[in-house]
Amino acid sequence: MNAPVDAIETFRAETRAWLEANCPPEMRRPLRSEADVVWGGRRAQLSEPQRQWLDRMAARGWTTPDWPSEYGGGGLTPQQAKALRQEMAKLGCRSPLNSFGISMLGPALLTYGTEAQKQEHLPKIVRGEIRWCQGYSEPGAGSDLAGLQTSAEDAGDHFVVNGQKVWTSYADKADWIFCLVRTDKSVKQGGISFVLFDMESPGVSTKPILLISGYSPFCETFFDDVHVPKANLVGELNHGWDVAKYLLGHEREMISGMGLGGGGHKSLPEIALDAIGAEPDGRLDDPGLRARIATFEVRAMAFQAMSERFMDELKARRAHPAQPSMMKYYGTELNKARHELIMAAGGSDALAWDSEASHGGAAARGWLRTKGNSIEGGTSEVQLNIIAKRILELPGA
């Protein structure tokens, strides 16, 4: 299966040349704030370079490099996809498209979707035409998905959905939702199905939740007699858990990636040196902070190796099925630690909330945003429970 080394090196060289020729210079600058991230969708407002970069990458299927080309994906081997990622990182290319369609729904559809569902939805995800959101959590349920209340009643060729979701990421900006609904009230663990529907369907409404960061990336989402065609059921009726769990694993992978920082941002030592300066011998002029940053950098680089190992093991189907919990736990805790250090490095400047010089309080708001990393997608405590039970096989209480 492994491509010979020289074939990979040829691919790498061609890729680099193509990226250099096709990635607009604006798309090779560090992201300054969350507003610079391209999410796509019907209502997306992209700058010219963003649009160019997205279209060029989508044309090659490189917004989803390892998806099959029949659905618009890049059809790359794991080695090629890794080489592409590495070359993009070297040139500082931004990601052309961020999307829950790519990171969550797509893999689930590839595994559980019907051929018609794949043909309908995957190409639009690749091209960034449809923006997806996820409807899992409900008020009062938190990490405990078993208490799911949103109901879908059988009405012949469609379901009638009623209920309320919470923590729906960007529901107010999304075009479609993938959603867990209860289709059988007589059981607790089963009886849940995984459905897709358009957010413009009659009866759908959203209400943004103001977060401590001052942003509203999440919504409360309400369903009032929403009609969902049965063709939009993914996987088997009453077995939506399987799809959801598969997808949660992918979500944890994605969130755990945050621990790596990077993504074109200034490095933590750079931030600190800029804000604080150096002693004559070049050491950061704050010995306590320097020691804490150095220890953090050790962990961050080790986690970078771990992420590489994890991806390699996943591809080779050697990863422990609960390993995504470890990655999610470590990656999100690391990302929180990074932002605590960014705040310490920035000093009083990092406390600014809305000044222009602070890019609208980017440091402080980014810091507060990361506090949710270890809550969303299963809290750190839930991940530790999973590791203890499923990997260490410690006894239940």
Binding site: D286, A344, A352
Partner: protein, 378 residues
């Protein structure tokens, strides 16, 4: 003196706690924030602080104050912290009053009555870079006419845009990094050439950047000795650092209380999440850190009040501990609240923001631990 509040102090705490909780609970701060209020605090509340005697609590009785000490100021500050009350109490009634005590009679007569009456607000203009490094004070004060001309910048000056009085650390001689050559000035609001640019911080408080563009002050604006202001500045820093630590004690205490209440009420998987041992141990650990920090803060206050030579060391310990403990308290608070802890609607996030600002103010835990190490000769 035993290391707990004496009867008078306990009585003050019994007065201050309901007073501030009623007059200025968290909703008071939210109101100012949501109205995008530009003063940064309520002048009405400040007047009521004066009625209670808080504004002048450190002022000698001869000047109309209560003649109390850092322990008592800390009691008020702890309640301010607990309720996230926006107030110029620390900069005015602790910082500026301490500075003025080392000044000439003309200065104290000029300013103390207004402070006691709740008519004057003061701000401390010390930091120049992104981090608190008072020894590196570089704002230039050159002799000029009957006084001095001040040139340079200050930042992170809480209440700097509305203060009637600015306590300014400046350099009259020597180089940044040297204690000698620092001089403290009492600068009046509206001095020519002085511009204050207020900036909203994460906790919704307002801090200013100050530009001194050749600001002319009289010689009697000097507090204490010319070139010899380091000692006076150190005294001011000792009390405001300890005061900040006391306020942080209130922030942590409220965060823990709120979190423990949540753990007792919230159910998941059919049981109260407060019955999960992992959370219990983390809450208990936090409690231990908070108790130890509370003792360190009280120790610093008592030593300051006793003019003990070990007071400075104790102050470094208090502010460093407060930095570490408050950070832990608000982090655990938000995490244990889960999703709702991330929403603006719940208060715990406001405590995280305030804790962060106070952790930075007058030097963070890294700074204070480093100072302690230098102090101890390593």
């Amino acid at each position: 003196m035993p290391l707990f509040l004496n009867d008078d102090q306990a009585m003050l705490a019994d007065t201050a706690r309901p007073f501030i909780a009623e007059q200025a609970p968290v909703g008071h701060m939210r109101g100012l924030r949501d109205a995008a209020e530009l003063t940064g605090f309520s002048r009405d509340l400040w007047a009521r602080f004066a009625e209670m005697g808080f504004t002048g609590m450190l002022v000698e009785e001869a000047h109309g104050g209560l003649g109390l000490g850092q322990v008592e100021a800390g009691i008020v500050l702890e309640e301010i912290g607990r309720n996230l009350t926006p107030s110029p109490f620390l900069s005015t009634s602790v910082g500026a009053v301490t500075a003025l005590k080392g000044g000439a009679a003309a200065l104290t007569e000029r300013w103390l009555p207004g402070i006691v009456a709740g008519e004057v607000v003061a701000a401390l203009a010390i930091d120049e870079g992104t981090h608190h490094r008072p020894l590196r004070t570089a704002l230039k004060a050159e002799r000029s006419g009957n006084g001095f001309r001040l040139t340079g910048d200050k930042r992170f000056v809480a209440h700097g845009h509305v203060a009637d009085l600015l306590i300014v650390a400046a350099r009259t001689a020597g180089a940044a990094g040297e204690p000698n050559g620092i001089t403290l000035f009492a600068v009046e609001k509206d001095a020519l050439g002085l511009t204050a640019t207020p900036e909203r911080l994460a906790d919704a408080s307002l801090a200013s950047r100050l530009a001194f563009d050749g600001v002319q002050v009289d010689a009697d604006a000097v507090i204490g000795e010319v070139d010899g202001g380091w000692a006076a500045l150190s005294r001011v820093l000792a009390v405001v650092r300890t005061g900040t630590a006391a306020e942080m004690g209130g922030v942590s205490a409220a965060a823990l209380a709120m979190t423990v209440d949540y753990l007792k009420s919230r159910k998941q998987f059919g049981v109260h999440i407060g019955s999960f041992q992992a959370l219990q141990h983390r809450a208990a650990h936090l409690y231990a850190e908070m108790e130890v920090t509370r003792a360190a803060v009280l120790k610093a206050q008592q030593l300051l009040d006793a003019d003990d030579p070990h007071a400075e060391r104790a102050t470094l310990v208090a502010k460093a501990m407060a930095g570490m403990t408050t950070t832990l308290a608000v982090q655990e608070g938000v995490q244990m609240h889960g999703g709702i802890g991330m929403t603006d609607e719940y208060d715990i996030g406001l405590y995280m923001k305030r804790g962060r600002v106070l952790a930075e103010m007058f030097g963070d835990a890294d700074f204070h631990a480093d100072q302690l190490a230098r102090h101890s000769g390593y």
